[in-house]
């Protein structure tokens, strides 16, 4: 029993919870934005994989880390545009198109990676984002090391969750996006073009998913390998429902899911050999 209490009381576990939650937060925000505009984006798993690969590849070829995140966002946006073309313009089944985008984006990412990065014994690495201590707050006992010594993208993800919650709930733009999702005909009568709203939401949402994937390779870890996203995209799809389509609740949902993932890494390290994100 004592060890369990020790583990739960360690700042390391709670720091890991935030770290593990970051890609889930970013992916879920992207998925919430898409779904609020009326498009289910099952491309998320592949878009995260592609973002993880392309962001890492940019940094590996000499770009700085923020450029890497930007490249991942653009890569996500391109696949978002493809999904929007299939589902909004052509009106094809969102489920099947999304799966098609996932299969295409992930296999394309693996193909490009294998082509440009030769197979070697130890995978090539980059210098990832380093933790930033927030002055003052990081000196607090327990809370400081757990929550205020994270890398920059983690802080950014939390800020984005709050920003997206505000935009969706309180601004005319957010209202227009929600109208396009709830009742496109009424939106059109109000002078809002639902097609434009859906395109915008899917492209921006997919860019967020790409950044979420890139967090894995640029901050949590320092190299890319196939299957590293490991179903995180699908977890995000579940989180959207869990958070009842609200960005601020997505934040807490992601933390809860991340807590259970972190616990499984801590309590059963032997079973969780691919515990990618370090927890101590």
């Amino acid at each position: 029993m004592n060890t369990i209490v020790d583990i739960l009381a360690s700042a390391g576990l709670w720091g890991a919870v935030l770290r593990i939650a970051t890609p889930l937060i970013l992916g879920t925000l992207g998925a919430v934005l898409c779904e609020r505009s009326g498009v289910l984006n099952l491309g998320i798993e592949g878009i995260m994989t592609f973002g993880a690969m392309v962001g890492w590849l940019a940094v590996f070829n000499g770009a700085d880390l923020w450029t890497g995140l930007l490249v991942a966002a653009l890569g996500g946006a391109v696949f978002g545009a493809l999904h929007a073309l299939l589902t909004v313009t052509l009106g094809l089944s969102q489920h099947v198109s999304g799966l098609g985008v996932t299969l295409f984006a992930s296999s394309f990412a693996y193909y490009v990676f294998r082509l440009l990065v030769p197979v070697s014994g130890s995978p090539p690495t980059i210098e990832p984002f380093q933790p930033i201590s927030i002055p003052g707050l990081s000196d607090l006992p327990f809370i400081g090391p757990a929550f205020f010594t994270q890398t920059a993208p983690t802080y950014m993800a939390i800020a984005l969750a709050i920003l997206l919650a505000y935009i969706l709930a309180k601004t005319p733009l957010g209202l227009a996006v929600r109208m396009a999702g709830e009742n496109p005909h009424a939106a059109e009568a109000q002078g809002v073009n639902p097609m434009v709203m859906r395109y915008g939401a899917v492209i921006v949402g997919s860019a967020l998913m790409g950044v979420g994937g890139a967090f894995l390779t640029l901050s949590a870890f320092n190299s890319f390998f196939p299957t590293m996203v490991q179903g995180r995209g699908w977890i995000c799809i579940a989180l959207v429902v869990f958070a009842s389509w609200r960005p601020e609740r997505a934040l807490f949902g992601a933390l809860l899911f991340a807590f259970s993932m972190a616990s499984s890494c801590v309590f059963r390290p032997r079973l969780m050999a691919p515990c990618l994100i370090r927890y101590s």
Binding site: V96, V101, Y111, L115
Partner: protein
């Protein structure tokens, strides 16, 4: 520019659709091969040689096509009734582990003629159960089955990985997480000696014909189609929607579970967590490429298997990553969706 629904669809166009889609996918993949600096036509020739060049490669391609036919049928029958079963991967694994568990613990020693049908049935039932749960949630609480079936894949695979590392772990496997094996006598007979090809292929093709018969010649087939085309209209016309969907789910989940069962009994004899290289997900591509037609599924599964097996050989000789096969298969799904759209609509300026 806008789209206008065609009043009638030319039959030739409908039949040509998958071919157009595959050619388009091969063209785009060809660009990727060219960008990698390899000769495109030689690469595709090498893929064909890799899939059909020798007796061994032909049997390997057909072995690979067998589970794809079954998971393709699983997706096709469900999608036709607008039951979005994305969970074939999980049903495949649950079917596989049920077969291994029953075979290793209960039926061992029985005559093969009795044992093999029991084991196949065990796999099918396991697959059914895993799909009936999300269907129940949909009928009772209108829970979207896309999300539930998709996420149950992970539940099923993690459950299987727990079993093969604990209670069902084979103590003779040098510590590797793999399940106890089904005895040799209860494996499916080989079609060709010294190859991996087993009679599962014949079972799968026979089932495709059976599904075609059921869909085109029985009341259930008509009801399932009506439930997909217009559920409210179907109810109005007296179709028992819930009962039809339950039957569709039993058929779809059963086929996916059977695919796992046949893969265990035909190829490996035991279960590991890499038994399926995504057969459940590829089955969705196969079903769409076949335009949800059961006999088309056989051809689409063959195409997919050719790409996967052939790409291995091509990769060895030209150095193009084997992932090109996954890219082509994914692209053919997308181009098929677009091609089907243009058989239904035309562009008007």
């Amino acid at each position: 520019m806008r789209f206008e629904r065609r009043e009638h669809r030319p039959a030739a166009l409908v039949i040509a659709t998958p071919l157009i889609a595959v050619v388009a996918a091969l063209a785009v993949s060809g660009i990727l091969i060219a960008l990698a600096g390899a000769p495109v036509f030689e690469a595709y020739w090498k893929i064909l040689v890799g899939a059909f060049g020798s007796k061994l490669s032909i049997t390997e391609t057909l072995t690979r096509a067998t589970p794809l036919i079954l998971t393709g049928l699983a997706a096709a029958v469900a999608f036709r009734a607008k039951l979005w079963n994305i969970g074939a991967e999980g049903q495949f694994y649950l079917g596989a582990i049920a077969t291994a568990a029953v075979g290793a613990r209960i039926t061992e020693g029985m005559a093969p003629i009795i044992q093999i049908p029991i084991l196949l049935a065990a796999g099918a039932v396991a697959g059914m159960v895993l799909l009936l749960l999300p269907l129940w949630l949909r009928l009772k609480f209108s829970v979207d089955e896309v999300v539930t079936t998709l996420l149950l894949n992970f539940v099923a695979i993690l459950f299987v990985s727990m079993l093969v590392d604990t209670v069902l772990k084979d103590p003779m496997a040098f510590g590797w997480p793999q399940s106890e094996a089904v005895e040799r006598a209860a494996r499916l007979p080989k079609l060709i000696d010294r190859s991996r090809l087993h009679i599962g292929l014949l079972i799968a093709v026979a089932i495709a014909f059976a599904v075609h018969f059921v869909q085109s010649r029985t009341t259930f087939g008509m009801r399932a189609r009506a439930a997909g085309l217009n559920p409210r209209g179907a109810v109005f016309a007296g179709v028992p929607l819930a009962r039809t969907l339950v039957l569709v789910a039993m058929l779809s989940g059963g086929l996916a579970g059977l695919a796992g069962s046949i893969e265990v009994l035909g190829v490996k004899g035991y279960v590991t967590t890499d038994l399926s290289p995504g057969y459940g997900y590829s089955g969705i591509v196969v079903a769409m490429l076949a335009n949800l037609h059961p006999l088309g599924v056989v051809l689409a599964a063959l195409f997919t298997a050719v790409m996967f097996v052939g790409a291995d050989g091509m990769s060895r000789s030209l150095g193009i990553p084997t992932y090109i096969a996954d890219v082509t298969v994914a692209l053919s799904l997308i181009s098929m969706l677009v091609a089907v759209f243009f058989t239904q609509y035309r562009v008007r300026r």
